[in-house]
Symmetry: C2
Subunit: 200 residues, 2 copies
DNA sequence: ACCTGAACACCGTTCAAGT
DNA sequence: ACCTGAACACCGTTCAAGT
């Protein structure tokens, strides 16, 4: 494993992308602590100073990982909510379950995405990424309101309360305060409750 | 600041407690990254190896900090919910606000408390501490059910959904995804919604 | 424009030795 | 039982120098 040094040209050409790939792999397999500039560089076979051309510092790399995570989450949510064959409330449940499963299956990444520390200058990008990930759920709520399935009211606010509930549940599961095999049950329960409050 | 070396006896006598105090101070003032064994030891004026008698390693110290945090949260929740002059639903709202304010005012500590990584052998203690902190809210829900203000049903489950919602909202505020000055508004809104679903 | 190698200041952790 | 000092292996970050 130590001597995997691939034969790279002096100019790697694709280093930024590969740095993020390897970083995410380490993050998921071994946790944030192990996501170190030097270890990533080692794995790729590049000097430990090379990454600095692409990321100002370690935090900058972690931030980029989080942004990437949000766009992965967005894809998952879209997949779970776009199928218009299925009735809207069911799609909402599916989206909620997709969210929860993504969080549970990528615990370390998800925790990073919801961590409070990030470079000040990346706060804007981060917010955009998370709002974008959140948008499929927002769409469902707006559709629900149009179809008179969900009560009228600021959809953004309604959506954020829903998002917060799911975020809380998954955080508790990842912290092992709720058993993993009760996750689906909890999510569906809270969705029922959510709808009881907002349904016509 | 560097030469504050107090005149300690060789045996400090109270080191464990002081380590935790200084650690929490650094955590709140400068963030987790800065909570280092060596910095804490320096501040107290003891050798950097001394803490190892009291905490197996850095994670063990962070875990203890989290447990301490839960008991602080418990106090805050009790204070906000015990005043029996006030009607029960109002006490529930107060407890929710107390929870949110604790989380926002002690962001780094709160994040640590809800972080997924902790020594395997401390998982039990951590779970107990968090359940204990949660108990005042559980009590309120049970009282509410007895007084026929809140619907019957597993109070633990109802409470966990409420807890999750609050946890999610505060996580989003601490991650600056929701503006801090909208915190109270969000909390009260979600409490309204919570009660709409569970009230008689 | 991109990467290397050496240097620096910081960590956590261990362990023989001191009190 | 508790603490010290030195040692070790690891970091992140910087910067002159190489391609």
């Amino acid at each position: 494993m130590k001597n995997m040094k691939k034969t790279h040209p002096y100019h790697h050409g694709n280093l930024r992308v590969e740095l993020l790939q390897v970083a995410q792999k380490i993050l998921l397999e071994k946790g944030v602590e192990e996501v170190t500039i030097r270890e990533i560089a080692r794995e790729i076979g590049v000097s430990h100073a090379a990454p600095q051309r692409h990321f100002r510092n370690r935090q900058d790399l972690l931030d980029s990982l989080a942004v990437q995570g949000f766009s992965q989450l967005e894809k998952v949510l879209k997949a779970g909510s776009l199928d218009s064959e299925v009735p809207l409330l069911e799609r909402l449940n599916n989206a909620a379950l997709s969210f929860a499963h993504f969080a549970a299956d990528n615990a370390a990444l998800f925790e990073l995405m919801n961590s409070s520390k990030c470079c000040d200058d990346k706060l804007g990008v981060m917010k955009e990424a998370s709002e974008s990930a959140f948008s499929p759920i927002l769409e469902l709520i707006i559709s629900g309101q149009e179809q008179k399935i969900i009560q009228s009211g600021n959809p953004l606010k309604i959506g954020l309360v829903l998002y917060a509930t799911l975020l809380g549940i998954t955080t508790m599961v990842n912290g092992e305060l709720i058993e993993r095999d009760r996750l689906d049950d909890f999510v569906l329960d809270s969705m029922d409750h959510f709808l009881k409050g907002y349904r016509y």
